[in-house]
């Protein structure tokens, strides 16, 4: 029971999704280094937490469904949780950054 036992119909799309998800997470984290101001940097990690996490979670659903030979969809829970919670942190950080930059200018 490991990655090599997954049948081909599940392994091909899962591999594609894993590569996409890894690249998205990488580019999102790279944005932290390459963009120069905080207000530009705050947008980059959203890539990894929306589509990047979505790709990896769908790949995980595919492989565990193929291995267990029945529909396994409990990864939906993480997807929903990440989709609802990641924006909240970003919004709070945005407001904190606006407050702090206003304070340091005046």
């Amino acid at each position: 029971m490991s990655a090599a036992d997954v049948p081909l119909w599940a392994a091909l799309p899962a591999a594609l999704l894993l590569i996409c998800g890894g690249l998205l997470a990488l580019v999102g984290s790279l944005g932290l280094l390459r963009l120069r101001s905080f207000f530009a940097r705050i947008h980059a990690p959203t890539m990894g937490s929306t589509l990047g996490a979505g790709c990896v979670l769908i790949a995980s659903m595919l492989t565990s469904t193929a291995l267990a030979q029945r529909p396994v969809v409990h990864e939906l829970l993480i997807t929903l949780f990440i989709l609802v919670t990641a924006p909240i942190t970003t919004m709070l950080l945005m407001r904190a950054a606006i407050l702090r930059s206003d304070r340091s200018e005046s």
């Binding site: 591999a15 894993l18 984290s29 790279l30 932290l32 940097r41 919670t85 942190t89 702090r100």
Partner: protein, 93 residues
């Protein structure tokens, strides 16, 4: 049997590790406190993806619970720190 999925898992793991390194550099360098919190949040998300990929690679179901817990605690930690920056208090009376 087919080597394509192990290759993809390794590729994704490498991507996530480099992403975590980027976030770590920003965490150590970040000029302001909000930069560090953002980097820590990214580190959490990348760590969760790493655990999920390890789970795909090994086929064990226990990794799902670890990923769920990392997502939960990452959210709580980052939100508490962002709230602290915003108001100077986490739980207001």
């Amino acid at each position: 049997m087919n080597a394509i999925l192990p290759f993809a898992v390794n590729f994704g793991l490498a991507c996530c590790s480099v992403g975590m390194l980027c976030a770590l550099v920003r965490l150590l360098r970040g000029p302001a406190a909000q930069d560090r919190i953002l980097a820590l949040d990214t580190l959490y998300i990348n760590g969760m993806l790493t655990i999920l990929m390890l789970g795909i690679g090994s086929g064990a179901a226990i990794y799902f619970d670890i990923a769920l817990l990392i997502a939960l605690f990452g959210f709580i930690g980052s939100t508490a720190m962002a709230k602290f920056l915003l108001r100077g208090e986490v739980i207001e009376p």
